[in-house]
Each structure stands twice: as C-alpha cells, then as structure tokens.
Symmetry: C2
Subunit: 222 residues, 2 copies
C-alpha cells in the first residue's frame, strides 16, 4: 500500500475522528464499509472522507468498500500511535499544572487506549488538594513532582509530550523550560500564545475561541 | 466601515486569538500597531494577519497601523460578544455534566470577560461531590439541576449555548434533548460524533485528535 509522505494537520485531525468511528464499527462486528455508508453513519462529509482516504491508496476494495480493521490499523500507524510506529512504547506524557483542569485531564479515559502514558504530573504545590484527592484513587496514582524538579524529570524519563494547564502568567516561562529540557510537543490549555522554537509543535485548546465560533454563528443567524 | 457578510470558521477562530492579543496591547497602553509588528509580537503569520484584517476594510491607518481599541471592539462585535451584538445581555450557557471536567470548565476564567454567563449546571447526581466541592465557594454558586429538569430549565431560561461533558454513552441522547429544547450551539467535550439537526452548530474539543496531531508530528520527525 502507498503511504502519504506528508499530510496536512486538518487531515490528521480528521483521520483521528475516522479512527474512532472505525473502532465503533469493529465493536459492532462490521468488517467492511463503503465511504458513502461510513460518511452517512457518522454524519461526515462524504466527499471529504473519500478524498482523505484516497491517501491510503488501495484500501478501498471496489464494490465492497473499506476493510474496517485494516483501515483502522493503517490510520493508527500514520498517526504514530501503534506500538510499532513509536518504537514499541507508548508516548510519554507529562501534565504540567495539577489543578482543577490538570486533574480533569488526568482522568481522560482516552489516554489509555490511544498509546499514551502519563508518567508524571507537575505543580507548584505538591500538597495540592485537587491532586491529593485524585491520588487516593489508585487508578490515578501518577507521581506528582514540584515544578523545580520538572526539567530533571523530563530529561531522566525522556518525556515527549507536555500538557500545559498552568495559570496564564506562568505559561510562557514554563513552556520554555519544558522545551529546553527536551519536550517537542505541547498541548496547550492556557489561553495565551506561546513563543517556542520552530521545532516544537504546539496544539492549542482554546475554549474562548471555540465559544466565539458559537457566538459568531448564533449572532449571524439572527 | 465595511463589515464582512460571512467569514469562514477558521477566520472566526483566528479573530478570537487576535482579540486576546489586542487586549494585552491595551493593558500595555499601546494604542496603534502595524500588522507586521502585531504578527511578530504574538508569533502569528503576518500574511495571514493582513488577510484576515483586510475584512475590516479601513481599520488600518496608512503608515501608522491599526488602532488597538477600535479593532478590538470591532472584532468583539463581529464575534457576537459585545453586549450590543447579543441584544444587551451575555450569552446564556449551561454545563451538562458536572463531574470532574464539567467542574473544571465552570472555573474557566474566560467566561467572565467574554460575554458569557453560566446560568445552570446539570447532572444525574445532584449530590455530585465534585460539584458540591465547588459550590462551597460562593464564586461558583451556579444552580445545579437534575438531568430530568434539563429541558424545562433550557426553555424557561432561554439557554442558548450548551457545554457537553457527560459520559460517552449518554452524549447523543442528551445532546438531542438539549437541541429539542431550544439550544442551537454546543461545545462538545465528549469524544463522540453527535447527530443533530443542521441548524445546530457544534464545536468539538477533541483531545484524542489533538494528541494525534502531536504524535503524527513527532513520529514523522524521526
């Protein structure tokens, strides 16, 4: 099969959504599906689905459709979350800021199934009540370190991905320290623009901007 | 000044980011800025900034740049969050699912400054410890209703925006009830695709897809 060299970020994002849909089909023991049925079933744009999946060349079997498990596996490989594509190990993730939001993220179920492992949480207050509340539950017994130990933990444990959930005024300084210590990918929950070296990838979960997309829609409808 | 009739969702998203940057400039008493300086200061793409702001016609004063406060106000108006653009009142928001994540969202500081008002939280368990913990703090004394009362609250209080943070298996059913009761905009934190009428706008905060954008980047670098 041909594998695309470089695909756009928007396509990567959509592939992740398709992968989740394919998992649902697998659970329902559906083994093949046409792009049209796939789009209809999950409320996706069918032209877009065809275009995105065209990257995968021979995956569609004429007159039958896509093989669900095969396509899912191939997408996971492209996304870099199959063990074979990340060197046999899950990605090492650190949560920086173990307050209310950081603790909510720690509970995110997706981490287990998607090839990620949260190996540490960082806070200024290692007695932080939010986190202590969590850690009583053995399921969330992730070591909590003081922010002064952050860089050492990143280096010693080769942390690859950082999730940033600190107060606004600390975000830039801490993000810079994270990347200086070796982190090359950050999921930023803080509503500030980060200035980081070009080799660092940042994805920003910007709740204000998301809400503005909704208010723009609502006010342009009236 | 000319106002664009219809702008793309990606542009709306970027306008929200520009608005936050303009607020920072205002705090620093900077009154005018060129698109080039603006882009450099905030690490934005300067061609993109010029293109996006071109929608606003005469806002740039030749040789001086943009008037910070004027541009900020105009963007807020476009986004629909100036009081004058939402009928003199903040947008009414309901949080559905008052667990760990829902409670973290309740604390999001952005709600205060961006023309939103959270008027209710909904859960299956109105004794939910997460939420009770929150409400002891008077700042977060938002009424919590049982899910069976949700539609009544939406109708009686004309809730416009719903934030969905319920378990996966409940998401579709509850989202449908929300929209049937009159909500036309949903910010979805649940990792499922929602099937809703075309007149409903959904923005999806999809943490798995965000993380996959990072793992794709990391694995394509190696």
């Amino acid at each position: 099969m041909k594998t695309p060299k470089k695909i756009s970020e928007l396509t990567v994002y959509r592939l992740s959504i398709y992968e989740r849909c394919l998992e649902l089909l697998e659970k329902e023991k559906i083994t093949t599906i046409s792009s049209k049925e796939f789009a209809e079933r999950f409320g996706l744009n069918s032209a877009q689905v065809r275009k995105d999946l065209a990257y995968f060349g021979e995956f569609g079997v004429r007159g039958i459709g896509y093989e669900v498990t095969l396509l899912k596996t191939e997408i996971l490989r492209i996304l870099g979350v199959l063990e074979s594509s990340s060197g046999g190990e899950p990605w090492k993730v650190m949560i920086v800021g173990a307050g209310k939001l950081g603790s909510a993220i720690l509970r995110y179920e997706g981490f287990k199934s998607y090839g990620f492992k949260i190996i540490a949480a960082i806070d200024v207050n290692t007695e932080a009540s939010e986190y202590r509340l969590l850690s009583k539950d053995q399921k969330f017994a992730i070591p909590l370190y003081h922010v002064s130990e952050m860089e050492e933990v990143i280096r010693n444990q080769s942390v690859q991905i950082g999730i940033l959930a600190v107060p606004e005024e600390k975000a830039q300084e801490i993000a810079r320290k994270m990347t200086d210590a070796g982190i090359r990918a950050i999921l930023n929950f803080v509503p500030v623009q980060l200035f980081l070296p070009d080799y660092v990838k940042v994805r920003h979960i910007d709740m204000a901007a998301e809400l503005h997309c909704l208010t723009y829609f609502l006010s342009s409808q009236e």
